[in-house]
Symmetry: C2
Subunit: 335 residues, 2 copies
DNA sequence: TATGTTTATGAAAATGTTTTCATAGTTGAA
DNA sequence: TTCAACTATGAAAACATTTTCATAAACATA
C-alpha cells in the first residue's frame, strides 16, 4: 500500500540515495540509471512522501494564503474569492499547493510567521489585510516570501488594479458626454483603493478643466449595499443633483441606485452611474450597471507568478507594484 | 530563531522525550515537570515542528478540500464559497488546517488519494463533485475520512439541504394562496439537488390534491442566468401561463424573471416566483426574489463536525445523510 | 601500462519529532 | 528493613527522505 523509497531501491538493487538523486534530477547519477529509476517509480506509482522530504529539505511546495481576521472579509466576498481562484489555479498548475495561514493552530494562538515556519510554508499571498497589522508586518519582514493584492506596504510586492486610471476613465467618459458636475461616492477612506480612485477622479476633473467640488465627494463607510443606500440620501440633499456619479464599488453603487430610483429619480435619464469592480450581478441589476471591470484573473495570476519567482529565487526584487488595467464596461446606467 | 525541542530540553536540563510527553499531555511525566515544561515552552514561544511530528505520528491536523475539476465550479461560486467559509472557520477553531487537494502535484499527475497519503491528509471535505468520478470513489473507499456536501455516494456521509421539504414549502405557499397551476423550472437533472426538489414539488402537489402536469416542468440545462432566460421562452410558449413558478436556483430564477418582465409580464401580479438558495444578490434584484434559503453556515459546520468526529474516531458511522432545513423567505416576487 | 581525473554509487548522517524500553528512583506493604 | 510494584526519566530507535562524503569504477592521458 504505502510505498517508500526503499521499495524502489530494493526492487532495483540500488541504494535509496541513488533513487532520490534520480527522481529529483540531481547530479550524480548516470542518465541510464536515472531513466531506469524514473521508469520503475512511475510504474509502481511511487510518490515521495512530502512530509519527510519537507523535513529534510526545508523547502516546500506549500503556499499560504492570509486573510486578515480584522476585516472580516472572507471567502464569500466575490472579489477576493475570484482572485484566489485564479491564483490557486495558476500555482497548482505549477505544482504548488495552497493552504490557509491561521493564527490558531492545535488550539494555541500562534503568529502568522510562527505558523509558516512550523509548517515550512515559504511563500504567502496576503489577500485582504490592513497593512498595519503587526502580525502581517512581522511576516513581511521575515524570510517568508510575500506578495499581496490590494494593499501596499514597504518591503512588499503588490499587485493591484490601476485605480487612478480607472477613475479617470469614468470621469472622462462623463465629461466627454457633456456632464459638468460629476459626483464621487467613495468607499471607506481607510481602503487604499478608495483613496487612489479619489485621486484619479480629482486629477482627471482638473485635466478636463473642471473644478473639484468637495460637496460632491461623499463617503460610504462600508462596501455594502446598505451604506450605498445611505450615501444616496446624502446625495439627494445636495441643492441640485449632479447628472453623473462615479461610485467606488458596485455594491455601494447598487444600493445607491436603488435608493435613488425609489425616490423617483430615473437612471440613466436623470442620473448616470458608473460603479467599480464588475461583480457578476451588476448585469442583472435594474438598470444594468456600467462599471470599471477589475481583472481578477490577471490580479491572481500576476500575484502567483511573482510569488513563484520569488520562491524560486528567479528574481531578487522583493518590492514594487504591478498595476493591472481596468476596463470601462458600458451598460444601461449610462446609456 | 528556529526553536527545536532540544532548545527547551537543554535549557531545562531534561531529555527531549520528556519535553515531548509533557507538551502532548502524554502519560509518563510528573505533574510538576509537565507544568515546568509547558511554562517554559510557552515563554520562549516554542511550537513543535509540524512536519517532523507528522512524519513520526502519521496523524495530522490537515484537512483537504476537494472540488472536482469536472464541473468547473470553483471558489467563485458563492454557494460553495460560503459553505467552505463556514467549514474553514469551524475546523480552524478546532485546531485543524485546511488545504486543497489537487491532482497535479510537483508537475506530476496524481490521484486525489495519492495526494492525501503523500501529504498525510487524513480527512477531506468533498465539496462539489460528481459521485461517479473514479478518483473520488477511490478516495471514498480508502482509509481517508470523507464527508461531502450536496452529493450522495455509498460509503459516504453527506450533509445536504432538505430539498424535498423546501420544494414542498414553496408549493404549499402557492397553493394556500389559491394558485392551482404551479410550474417548476428545474436545474440540470444530473444534479441530485434538482431531482430532490422535483420530487418534493411533485409530492406536495399530490398531497394538496392537485395533478402534476408534465408540461409545467421545464429543465434549465445549467445553473445560470442565461439558461433561466432560455427557460422563460419555453415557459411563455405554454397555452396559458401558470400564475406561480418554483425555480430550482436563484440564478436561474433571475434570468427567468428578467426575461418574463422584458416580455411584458408583471411580477408578481401576473406570475409569482420563488427561487432557491438565497444568494445575497436576490434582495437587490428587481423585484426582490422570494426564495428558499439554504443555510450554508449550518451546512459547512455540520460537515466540519462530522469530519472531525470521524478523524478523532469519536464516531464509527461512516455513512448517512444529515438534512439541513431550508427556510422560505418572502419578498416582492410573491407579494 | 601506469597514473591521474572524473563519474557513479552507496553508506551513513541528518532533519525534529514521538515512542518504546530500560533503568533509576520512589512508594507501600509485609 | 526488604522486596515488590509503580512512577518518572532518559537513551535510542524510528519515521521517509536528502545530502555529504568516501570509495569504487570508468575514463583519459602520458
Amino acid at each position: 500500500m504505502k510505498k517508500t523509497i526503499y521499495d524502489v531501491a530494493n526492487a532495483l538493487g540500488v541504494a535509496p540515495s541513488t533513487v532520490s538523486k534520480a527522481l529529483n534530477n540531481a547530479p550524480g547519477v548516470s542518465a541510464k540509471m536515472r531513466r531506469k529509476v524514473q521508469k520503475y517509480a512511475s510504474e509502481i506509482r511511487y510518490f515521495p512522501n512530502a512530509t519527510a522530504s519537507k523535513l529534510k529539505t526545508k523547502k516546500s511546495y506549500a503556499i499560504g494564503i492570509v486573510f486578515s481576521e480584522q476585516l472580516n472579509i472572507g471567502l464569500e466576498h466575490n472579489f477576493f474569492s475570484r482572485i484566489l481562484q485564479a491564483f490557486k489555479t495558476y500555482v497548482e498548475k505549477e505544482g504548488y499547493e495552497i493552504s490557509f495561514v491561521i493564527s490558531n493552530y492545535a488550539k494555541q494562538d500562534i503568529t502568522y510567521l510562527e505558523f509558516c515556519v512550523q509548517k515550512n510554508i515559504s511563500g504567502v499571498l496576503i489577500l485582504a489585510c490592513l497593512p498595519d497589522d503587526p502580525h502581517i508586518t512581522e511576516l513581511i519582514n521575515s524570510s517568508v516570501h510575500c506578495v499581496s493584492t490590494d494593499t501596499y506596504s514597504d518591503n512588499l510586492f503588490t499587485v493591484m488594479s490601476d485605480n487612478r486610471t480607472g477613475a479617470a476613465l469614468a470621469v472622462r467618459f462623463f465629461v466627454e458626454r457633456g456632464h459638468t458636475r460629476v459626483a464621487y461616492i467613495s468607499g471607506p477612506k481607510e481602503a487604499i483603493a478608495c483613496r487612489e480612485r479619489e485621486e484619479g477622479y480629482r486629477n482627471e476633473l482638473i485635466s478636463q478643466g473642471l473644478q473639484v467640488d468637495e460637496n460632491l465627494i461623499i463617503e460610504s463607510k462600508e462596501f455594502s449595499f446598505e451604506h450605498g443606500h445611505e450615501a444616496a440620501y446624502r446625495f439627494m440633499e445636495l441643492d441640485s443633483y449632479p447628472s453623473a456619479v462615479f461610485v467606488a464599488s458596485d455594491e455601494i453603487a447598487m444600493g445607491f441606485t436603488k435608493c435613488l430610483r425609489s425616490n423617483g429619480l430615473r437612471i440613466p435619464q436623470d442620473v448616470q452611474i458608473i460603479g467599480f469592480d464588475d461583480i457578476p450581478f451588476v448585469q442583472y441589476f435594474e438598470p444594468s450597471l456600467s462599471t470599471l471591470r477589475q481583472n481578477t484573473t490577471e490580479l491572481g495570476v500576476s500575484a502567483a507568478k511573482k510569488l513563484i519567482d520569488l520562491m524560486d529565487a528567479a528574481t531578487e526584487e522583493k518590492t514594487g507594484v504591478k498595476y493591472i488595467p481596468v476596463e470601462l464596461i458600458e451598460r444601461e446606467s449610462t446609456k
